[in-house]
């Protein structure tokens, strides 16, 4: 969508931004303070991932798959592992499935807390951002303790999990409980601040109809009242045993996305603790390498931004013939443009950060 003519001023931002974020470019047509048109330009993070993967051994490509997008690594690795396990016809043991759920929920937790902080930054509320970053750091340290990596890279692998670094037990459960308490205090502080709350309310409204028409997923969709979530649509792994409660909000604005992420955080912290209790302190089993032959399948997993999809086609001896990455961010970027319409320019960062979508898994 573009706007031109008398009174329209074009504001262009990116691909280099003022903060520390990924590269993307936005062309905003403004009429006074109002956003009259909003155009997104992508591809700055395009590395040629899907082409680079062709011909590689499917199981051996897992570390590369984990490094397509740092913020979605657990969900994408899980989706990819499910695809390969489907092709090989193998089942993963119960403890490894519990650990996968734990890792995926931890990824959701650090992403969502980061997003709450980013929304605060969008409203110029520095304390909220700093306090959220402090909590994010504590979650990264928990991730390192459980998987050996602060971002859970290579934690979920085809055939199971990499569990040699796993250090579960009561101390980690207690730390998650402390994080939960500090998070509740932060959320209370943010929403009790009238000027911040009023920036959130009514900004970047997305209607339930728009989100369905555009095929939106994840918390952005659930903030419009639709409880779509791959974890319960077709429960996979340990989600069949540990069922998540799916939260929704009805407003479709920045406040609704903030609140739905807060609700999801409470639930993810509960799920993670539950998985940790079941797992105990004992070491995790080593992954059983799947014997992948020729075939074609799709693996999915619900990530922090929505469903992550990996379509995989393999040839003889398990060499990749094609990998198609359909990320939640790719599905949701059109929502950002729709939500931006009619807002004022100063709310652009706020609305954008209320979605906080990835460029890396959009551009590939």
């Amino acid at each position: 969508m573009t706007a031109s003519g008398r009174g329209i001023t074009e504001v262009v931002v990116g691909p280099v931004h003022a903060g520390i974020i990924e590269p993307g470019r936005f062309r905003i047509g403004t009429n006074g303070e109002t956003i009259a048109s909003f155009e997104m330009q992508f591809g700055f993070a395009h590395r040629g991932v899907e082409t680079a993967l062709i011909g590689r051994d499917a199981v051996g490509a897992a570390p590369a798959i984990a490094r397509i997008c740092g913020g979605c690594t657990a969900a994408r690795s899980w989706a990819y592992a499910r695809a390969l396990e489907d092709l090989a016809g193998v089942c993963v043991d119960e403890r490894s499935e519990l650990a996968r759920l734990l890792f995926a929920e931890l990824e959701r937790i650090y992403n969502h807390i980061f997003d709450l902080g980013a929304a605060c930054a969008g409203a110029g509320y520095g304390y909220g951002r700093t306090a959220a970053l402090g909590l994010v750091e504590r979650v990264h340290r928990v991730c390192a303790r459980l998987s050996g990596h602060r971002f859970l890279f290579d934690a979920i692998v085809p055939g199971g999990v990499r569990g040699e670094a796993f250090e579960g037990g009561a101390a980690v459960i207690a730390e998650l409980e402390t994080i939960r308490g500090d998070l509740e205090r932060l959320v209370h502080d943010v929403l009790a601040n009238d000027s911040v709350r009023r920036r959130f309310e009514g900004a970047g409204i997305l209607s339930a109809r728009s989100v369905r028409e555009l095929g939106g997923v994840g918390p952005a969709r659930r903030a419009c009242g639709d409880p779509l979530d791959a974890r319960i649509e077709n429960p996979y792994g340990a989600y069949a045993r540990i069922m998540p409660f799916i939260a929704t909000q009805s407003g479709g604005d920045v406040a609704a996305r903030f609140r739905v992420k807060t609700q999801e955080l409470r639930e993810s912290l509960r799920l993670a603790s539950c998985a940790l209790e079941h797992l105990g302190g004992a070491k995790l089993p080593a992954p059983q390498k799947p014997e992948v032959g020729a075939g074609s399948t799709t693996g999915i997993a619900e990530g922090a931004r929505g469903v992550e999809t990996m379509r995989v086609r393999t040839g003889a001896r398990g060499a990749l013939q094609s990998v198609s990455i359909i990320s939640a961010s790719a599905r949701n970027w059109p929502l950002v443009a729709r939500a931006m319409e009619g807002n004022i320019v100063p709310d652009f960062p706020l609305v954008n950060k209320s979605f906080n979508l990835c460029y890396a898994c959009m551009d590939k």
Partner: protein
Amino acid sequence: MERYAHSLGIRHVACGSCNACEHEMNALESPQYDLAQEGWQIAASPRHADVLTVTGPMTQAMREAAAASAGAMAQPRVVVAVGDCAIGTGVWSGAPSSGAGAGVELHARVRIPGCPPSPDAIKTGLGRAAALLDGKGSNGETDVLR
């Protein structure tokens, strides 16, 4: 930690990273790492920066913008390569739209390995950059050990 006389303005340009390096750069502003204590700040424009941090393998689409950002900085300046992709050893080196590494292409004098490097490692690397700007340390390239 060493004390550095030099305060730093730091500009960051992501050149096709997976965003994990950006997350760790953002962690520098958390209470645990608090880069303001060192007298350092993230500058919104390369015009205000002494240090350019770069991540990623350098995508074709970012090459021009990254060079323009480096070119907009006043001398003396130091380019710091953050992460394996930027130093040319990442998993996407050799991908069809990837370059030799953002730090390799922009002649980084400080290289911080890691996938991603920890916030502590990034802080150490920025300390090396501050020392270089103060005329201390070697005039050549410097590596932060993993």
